[in-house]
Symmetry: C2
Subunit: 175 residues, 2 copies
Amino acid sequence: MALGKDYATQECSIAGALEIVGERWTLLVVRDALYGVRRYNDFLVHLGIPRAVLASRLQALTAEGILEKRRYQESPPRDEYVVTDRGIALWPTLRSLGRWGREHLGEARLRYFRHATCGTELGPYGECATCGTVVPVPDVEMVPGPGLDPDPADPVSRALLKPRRLLEPIDTRHA
Amino acid sequence: MALGKDYATQECSIAGALEIVGERWTLLVVRDALYGVRRYNDFLVHLGIPRAVLASRLQALTAEGILEKRRYQESPPRDEYVVTDRGIALWPTLRSLGRWGREHLGEARLRYFRHATCGTELGPYGECATCGTVVPVPDVEMVPGPGLDPDPADPVSRALLKPRRLLEPIDTRHA
DNA sequence: CAACTCGGTTCAATGAATGAACCTAAGGTG
DNA sequence: CACCTTAGGTTCATTCATTGAACCGAGTTG
C-alpha cells in the first residue's frame, strides 16, 4: 500500500495520508506510541500483532519520520521507537476516529481525555472548553473509564489503568 | 478485517472504528460519498478500484449504516449509495487526515474548504473562525486549488473542478 | 554452562486484492 | 429486428499481504 502504485492517481491529500498510515495495524501502532509505548515487545504484547508485521510497520513509520528509532542502552544494545512531531500531529485524527467509534458503534466509555492542567474533559477536536485552547498533546491526560477490563493480561494494558499523560513513556518493568 | 477476530481484543474505540472503516479503499469511498458521488460507476472510475472490491465495500458500508442504498429509477432498475448521518460524522476525521497529509507530505493545495455562507476557509477541525461555529457539512464548500489537474480523464474529477458543496449529488451526464 | 530476554528474520499456509472476462436487464440506433 | 451501449454487478486465476510458528543471535542472569 505504500508503494505509490495504489492511491497515487487520487490527487488528494487524504489519499496521500492513507498511503502512509492507511495500512493495517499502522494507526494502532501510532496510537500506542502516543500512549507512551516505545519498545518492540510492548507493541507486540499490547497489539497482538504478528512479529513480522510489527517489524515492517515500525520500519515504515521510521522511514516516514513518524517514529524515531533511538538507542536507549548500549549493553545489550536496545532501541526504542519514539513518536516524532509528525506522529504527534496525527493525534486529532486519532481522537476524532475514536470519538466516531464510540458514538456510532455504541461502545462503553473506555477512556477519558482531559486537560491535565485544569481537569476539563476534551471536546470533540481535542480542545479545552474551560481554557478555550486546543490542548497540546503532552498536556492531555488519559483516564481509564468504567468499560475497561480491571485486570488485563499484558503489562502495557495494566500500566494504562492508571491516569497518565500522553507521550509519557510506559515502564513495563514495574507494572 | 471486519470480522471481530482482528482488533477485537483492543478495548479501544479507535480500534473499533478501524474495524469498520480501516480496510483498504473504505475511507476513500466515504470521502467520495461526501464529495457527492453516489453511483457505482462513478465510484469505479474516480477511485480506480477493482469492481469486486468496490461491490464488497459498498455492501459493508451499507450494512454498517454509513451508506444507504436507494433506488433512483425503476426501469432500468438503478440504485445509488447515499451517505448517512453516520457517514457524515466521519467528515472531521477525513478533514484532519487530509490536513495531516498536506502539511506533512508536502502536497500542493489541491482543494480548499470554505464556509459557504461567509466564504471563510475552514480551520483545522472544520470550524469557521468568522462565525465561531463548527460548519455543518452541507454548508461546506469545496473549491479546487492550483495543484489540481485542469483536464482530468474521468467525469467525476471534471465535475469536481467547479466549486461545489459537500453532499451535493454529482451528475456525470452533463460533465 | 544453561536458561532467559529482547529484537528481530525466515518460512509455509492462508486470506485478500487485483484485473480481466463474463453476465443480466434495459434502452438506443439503424 | 439485430446490434451496440450502459449500469451494476459476479466469477475466476494470479498476485500480494498477513498470519503464526519456528528459529536465531547477542547479551545477561542464575
